[in-house]
């Protein structure tokens, strides 16, 4: 345990778009068994992991697009993007 998760949680909530990889790392260091009976704590923790999840998804898509812009005939990022598109469509429709 390297950092009090509540600190990074508030930060992430306020600056969702600015969540950096370092903040994601500190979030991953957060303990899940710290406050055993506080549902608000787990709700906040969940919200922050959710923010981290969205950020990773965004960065994944962004980097596949950069890979394609470097080499437009590179099939792998194109196929990977297609897979993700299907995943999101499926998730949104459910």
């Amino acid at each position: 345990m390297t950092e009090e998760p509540a600190e990074s949680m508030d930060k992430a909530k306020a600056e969702l778009e600015l969540l950096s990889l370092e903040e994601i790392i500190s979030l991953l260091g957060g303990g899940e068994s710290e406050v055993l009976s506080d549902p608000d704590y787990y709700n906040r923790l969940g919200q922050n992991y959710l923010a981290g999840f969205r950020k990773c998804l965004q960065r994944g898509v962004k980097n596949y697009r950069i890979a394609l812009s470097i080499n437009p005939s590179f099939k792998k990022p194109l196929n990977n993007l297609e897979l993700l598109k299907n995943l999101l469509q499926q998730a949104l429709s459910e």
């Binding site: 990889l21 370092e22 994601i24 790392i25 991953l28 260091g29 899940e32 009976s37 549902p39 608000d40 704590y41 787990y42 709700n43 923790l45 969940g46 919200q47 992991y49 959710l50 981290g52 999840f53 990773c56 998804l57 960065r59 994944g60 898509v61 962004k62 980097n63 596949y64 950069i66 890979a67 394609l68 470097i70 080499n71 590179f74 792998k76 990022p77 196929n79 990977n80 897979l83 993700l84 299907n86 995943l87 499926q90 998730a91 459910e94």
Partner: protein
């Protein structure tokens, strides 16, 4: 005649015969891994002369690798002691996981080849060779595994075996330029210059922008051009010059320099400069670690903590910023973000579950939990299918 300090008196100043010992602090740290009956000792320390952290790898007591630590920009800002510690931790973690993965990856040729490549970059020829041979056994026409194994054989001092292997690989896949170039390189090492040129021309036919093949072609002509006496200004070997010009044609400044060349020596010098530039661009170590993390996620996820993956992403981003912005490395980075997203979804779902399961059941948490459950499952399936 006795040898005393007076003998070294120079303009009245006595030069001490004893080397002044600088009492520089040592930050040395070491760790050992025992695997399959072999000992792998890793050692990390700060080199005061080079002002750089080095890590060394000993296999069964023999030094096999001594290389500068490759830390991310942020890690380099830490105190030296911590940098030494981090460098050792990273190498230990990577090597340990790679050694353990050998018994977990089964017959998957891609995994076998990728892991073999990782061991190759660590100068662990025996470990690399075994995995690459296995990859070829399970996929008979696996060109990349042939190429990697041929390089291992050259490093083991077995050029003839390397040639036999590559000749077979070229017969199986005559349209893979890398194989022709690899075979040509081993021919060059063995002094078979005409055979080397034949395959370099084939490699260039298949890939007209093949920088390394042009450099090898240039070397083949430099090797056969007369150059027994460096005192005389020998004429430019025309073919070597042409190959060099083709290699440099995308770099206007270098191309202009090569255009003005008038001697053998200048061609040789420019060849070495371009070879050096190529070595600086060589990203085999980055690719080998990327493939290791990819295999770790797919083949041994329970032993890849999310934080370790996130730190690795940080390191990879820093490598891309440092001029290694290649499409395949970006594709790797994007894939690792997707893997990390999978961990995040799992952690979020668990947190919402704990929140929702309590007496003060929160509706929003319960909804998030339901949404994430499906998404996490779907992402897990997609992550297995992402290609690198």
């Amino acid at each position: 005649m006795t040898f005393s300090e007076e003998d070294l008196s120079f303009f009245g100043q006595v030069i001490s015969t004893q080397e002044e010992e600088a009492h520089l602090e040592s930050f040395r740290q070491a760790s050992e891994i025992i695997s399959h009956g072999n000992s792998y000792l890793l050692e990390s320390d700060y080199d005061w002369e080079e002002k750089q952290i080095y890590t060394r790898l000993y296999r069964n007591g023999s030094l096999v690798l001594n290389q500068a630590a490759d830390l991310s920009k942020k890690e380099c800002l830490r105190p030296i002691k911590e940098q030494v510690q981090v460098a050792l931790q990273i190498d230990h973690e990577n090597l340990k996981s790679a050694l353990e993965l050998r018994s977990k990856i089964g017959k998957n040729p891609f995994f076998l080849n990728g892991l073999g490549l990782f061991f190759y970059t660590k100068n662990l020829w025996q470990e690399a060779g075994e995995l690459l041979e296995k990859a070829i056994r399970h996929k008979k026409n696996y060109s990349r595994a042939y190429r990697n194994l041929s390089q291992v054989l050259v490093k083991m001092g077995l050029p003839n075996e390397s040639i036999n292997l590559l000749e077979k690989a070229v017969r199986l896949n005559p349209t893979f330029a890398d194989l022709h170039n690899a075979l040509a390189w081993v021919y060059l090492e063995s002094g078979r210059i005409q055979d080397a040129r034949h395959h370099l021309h084939l490699a260039i036919q298949l890939n007209p922008d093949y920088y390394e093949a042009y450099l090898n072609l240039c070397l083949s002509y430099l090797q056969s051009a007369p150059h027994q006496d460096f005192d005389q200004n020998l004429p430019v070997p025309q073919e070597a010059w042409e190959a060099l010009q083709k290699a440099a044609r995308l770099d206007k400044r270098t191309a202009a320099k090569i255009h003005k060349i008038t001697s053998w020596e200048e061609v040789s010098q420019q060849y070495l400069i371009l070879r050096d530039k190529q070595a600086a661009r060589d990203t085999i170590n980055i690719r080998a670690i990327c493939v290791l993390y990819y295999i770790r996620y797919l083949g041994d996820r329970e032993n890849l903590p999310s934080r370790t993956l996130a730190y690795f992403i940080l390191w990879l981003e820093s490598k891309l910023e440092q001029g290694n912005n290649f499409a395949d490395l970006r594709n790797y980075l994007a894939t690792f973000y997707m893997f990390l997203a999978g961990y995040m979804a799992e952690k979020a779902r668990r947190a919402f579950q704990r929140s929702g399961n309590s007496q003060h059941c929160n509706e929003e948490s319960a909804k998030n939990y339901r949404d994430l459950k499906g998404l996490e499952k779907a992402l897990r399936v997609v992550n297995q299918k992402l290609t690198v």
